[in-house]
C-alpha cells in the first residue's frame, strides 16, 4: 500500500520481530539464565539462617528491580509522548508497562514463595509488599486504559496521561504505606543479610544483568509486535478504502445513476451503460 513503514515510524522500522541484535541478545539471555541457575542453585552456598530458601533471592530481587525500572520507562515514555507526540514513545511506554506488570506479578509470586518458608506466611502487610501490590493494580488499570479502542492518537494521549497519574502516585503510596506500617508495628522484614557472601553477591548481580537483558529482549519484541499491529490497522483501512474505490471505478462514469428508483426494468435485465429509461 501507500503507507511507507519507514516514514511512518520515523526511523528504522521493523518488519518482523526478530533482528540480528535481538537474536544475539536472546542467546546471551539464555546462556545467562543457564549460568544463573548454576550459580544460584549449585555453586552459591546456602544461607546460614534461611538455608536453601535464600536461593529464590537470585530470581526475586532482580525481577523486582526490573519491574520498577519498567514502570519508570513507561512514565518516561508517557512524558516523551506528550512532548514529542511520536508513536515510538507511546508504544515503548505500553510495551514496558506490560512487561512491568508481568514482572511485578512474578515479584509478588516469588516473594510469597519465599515468605512462606522464611516468615511462615505468604503475605505480611509490610510497606514494600503493599506498595508492590498496589503498583500491580495501578498499572493493570493503565493497561485497561490502553486497551480501550479509539483513534490511535486519542488512545495514546489518554494512556500517557493515565500512566502519569499512576506513576505520580507511586511515591505517595510508598510513603503512606511505610508510615502506616511503622506507626503500628515497626518493620516486619529485614531482608538481605548485612554481610553477603562474595559468591552470593555475584549471583545476585548476575541475576540483575540477566533479567535486564530479558527485559530488553521482551521490550524490543513487544514494541515491534505493537508497531506491526498498528501497521495492520493502517493497512486494513487502506485496503478497505482501495476496495471501495475499485468498486466505484467499476461503475459507469455517466453522471446519472444506471438504475433509477422508479425504473420499471428489473436490475438483472438492465444493461450497465445505456438504458432506454434513463432520465
Amino acid at each position: 500500500m501507500t503507507t511507507d513503514p519507514q516514514t511512518a515510524a520515523g526511523g528504522d522500522a521493523p518488519v518482523g520481530t526478530g533482528s540480528p541484535f535481538t537474536r544475539v541478545l536472546g542467546i546471551l539471555c539464555l546462556v545467562g539464565i543457564a549460568a544463573l541457575l548454576a550459580f544460584g542453585l549449585v555453586w552459591s552456598a546456602p544461607d546460614v539462617v534461611q538455608s536453601d530458601s535464600v536461593r529464590i533471592m537470585y530470581l526475586h530481587v532482580p525481577v523486582a528491580i526490573v519491574a520498577f525500572l519498567a514502570f519508570a520507562v513507561t512514565a518516561f515514555g508517557s512524558v516523551m509522548y506528550l512532548w514529542r507526540k511520536s508513536q515510538f514513545w507511546d508504544l515503548t511506554a505500553g510495551a514496558s508497562a506490560e512487561i512491568g506488570v508481568m514482572f511485578t506479578a512474578l515479584t509478588l509470586l516469588t516473594g510469597m514463595l519465599w515468605g512462606r518458608p522464611t516468615w511462615g506466611v505468604f503475605w505480611v502487610w509490610d510497606a514494600r509488599l503493599t506498595t508492590t501490590a498496589l503498583l500491580l493494580v495501578l498499572f493493570l488499570g493503565y493497561l485497561a486504559v490502553r486497551r480501550i479502542p479509539g483513534d490511535p492518537d486519542v488512545v495514546a494521549k489518554r494512556a500517557a496521561i493515565a500512566g502519569l497519574i499512576a506513576f505520580i502516585d507511586v511515591p505517595i503510596v510508598h510513603y503512606s504505606t511505610v508510615w502506616w506500617r511503622t506507626l503500628h508495628q515497626g518493620p516486619t522484614i529485614t531482608r538481605l543479610d548485612p554481610q553477603i557472601d562474595g559468591l552470593m553477591l555475584f549471583s545476585l548481580m548476575l541475576g540483575m544483568v540477566v533479567f535486564l537483558g530479558v527485559y530488553l529482549w521482551l521490550l524490543v519484541h513487544r514494541f515491534r509486535v505493537a508497531y506491526l499491529e498498528s501497521q495492520v490497522d493502517d493497512l486494513g483501512l487502506d485496503v478497505a478504502l482501495a476496495e471501495r474505490r475499485a468498486e466505484g471505478s467499476a461503475l459507469p462514469t455517466s453522471p446519472t445513476s444506471p438504475t433509477s428508483p422508479t425504473s420499471p426494468t428489473p436490475p438483472e435485465a438492465a444493461p450497465l451503460v445505456t438504458t432506454g429509461d434513463e432520465r
Binding site: A144, I165, I168
Partner: protein
C-alpha cells in the same frame, strides 16, 4: 479560570439539586453500606467500634465512585461533551468546577455518614477540627483524581467497570491517611492525625495541579 470553575460548579450543583440523585440514591446507598458492615462484622463484639474510621472511609470511597460516575455521565449524554468543548470555557476551569461540585456533594455525604457512624456505630468524636480538616483534604484529593479519571472514562462503554479499577488504587493513600487521622480524632489523640492530614493535603494539591494541566488534552481528544 476561577469564574469558569464557579460557572461549571454552579451548573452541576443546580443539576444535582433538581434531579436529587445524590440525596435520593447516593446517600441512601452510603447509609445502606454502613448497615451492611454491621451485618458482616458482629456489632456486639466491638469490632464496629474499633473499625469505624476504616469503614467510614471505605463507604465514602464507594459513594464517591457513584457520585463521580454520575457527574461525568451527565456530560456524556446528548453530546454535552462537544458542547462543553465548544463553550469557550477554560478547560482548567471546567476541571476545577467539576471537582468542586463533586467535592461539595461528597462533603455533604460525609457529614451525613458522620452522623450515621455516631448513631449506628456508637462513635465518640473528640477532635472536631481534625475531623473537618481531614474531610476537606481527603475530599479534595478524591474529587481531583476522580474528575481526572472521570473525564477519561466518560462516554466509554466500559466506564462503570473502568472507573473503580483506575480510581481505587490511586486513592489508596487517601484511604490510609484519612482512616489514621479519623482514628486519632475518634480516640482523642490528635498528635499524628494532623501529619496524616498534611499528607492528604499534599495529595490533593499534586492532583489538582496535575488536573489543571492535563484536563484540557483529555477533554479535547477523547
Amino acid at each position: 479560570m476561577l469564574r469558569d470553575a464557579a460557572l461549571v460548579a454552579g451548573k452541576d450543583l443546580r443539576l444535582e439539586w433538581r434531579s436529587r440523585v445524590a440525596t435520593n440514591q447516593v446517600a441512601p446507598f452510603a447509609i445502606l453500606v454502613l448497615i451492611l458492615f454491621a451485618f458482616a462484622l458482629d456489632p456486639d463484639r466491638g469490632i464496629l467500634e474499633r473499625a469505624t474510621a476504616g469503614l467510614y472511609w471505605v463507604t465514602v470511597l464507594f459513594a464517591a465512585l457513584l457520585a463521580l460516575s454520575r457527574a461525568f455521565s451527565i456530560e456524556a449524554a446528548d453530546g454535552n461533551r462537544d458542547a462543553l468543548r465548544l463553550s469557550g470555557l477554560d478547560p482548567a476551569g471546567i476541571f476545577l468546577g467539576k471537582a468542586a461540585a463533586v467535592a461539595v456533594v461528597l462533603l455533604a455525604l460525609e457529614v451525613l455518614l458522620l452522623v450515621g457512624v455516631i448513631v449506628l456505630y456508637n462513635a465518640d468524636v473528640h477532635g472536631i477540627g481534625l475531623l473537618a480538616a481531614t474531610c476537606v483534604a481527603a475530599t479534595a484529593g478524591l474529587a481531583a483524581t476522580g474528575s481526572l479519571y472521570g473525564v477519561l472514562a466518560a462516554g466509554l462503554r466500559v466506564r462503570e467497570t473502568l472507573l473503580p479499577l483506575l480510581l481505587l488504587p490511586v486513592a489508596a493513600p487517601v484511604l490510609i491517611g484519612a482512616t489514621r487521622a479519623f482514628e486519632d480524632a475518634f480516640s482523642g489523640t490528635t498528635g499524628e492525625g494532623w501529619s496524616w492530614c498534611v499528607l492528604l493535603a499534599i495529595f490533593a494539591l499534586i492532583y489538582t495541579v496535575f488536573g489543571v494541566l492535563a484536563f484540557g488534552p483529555l477533554l479535547e481528544e477523547s
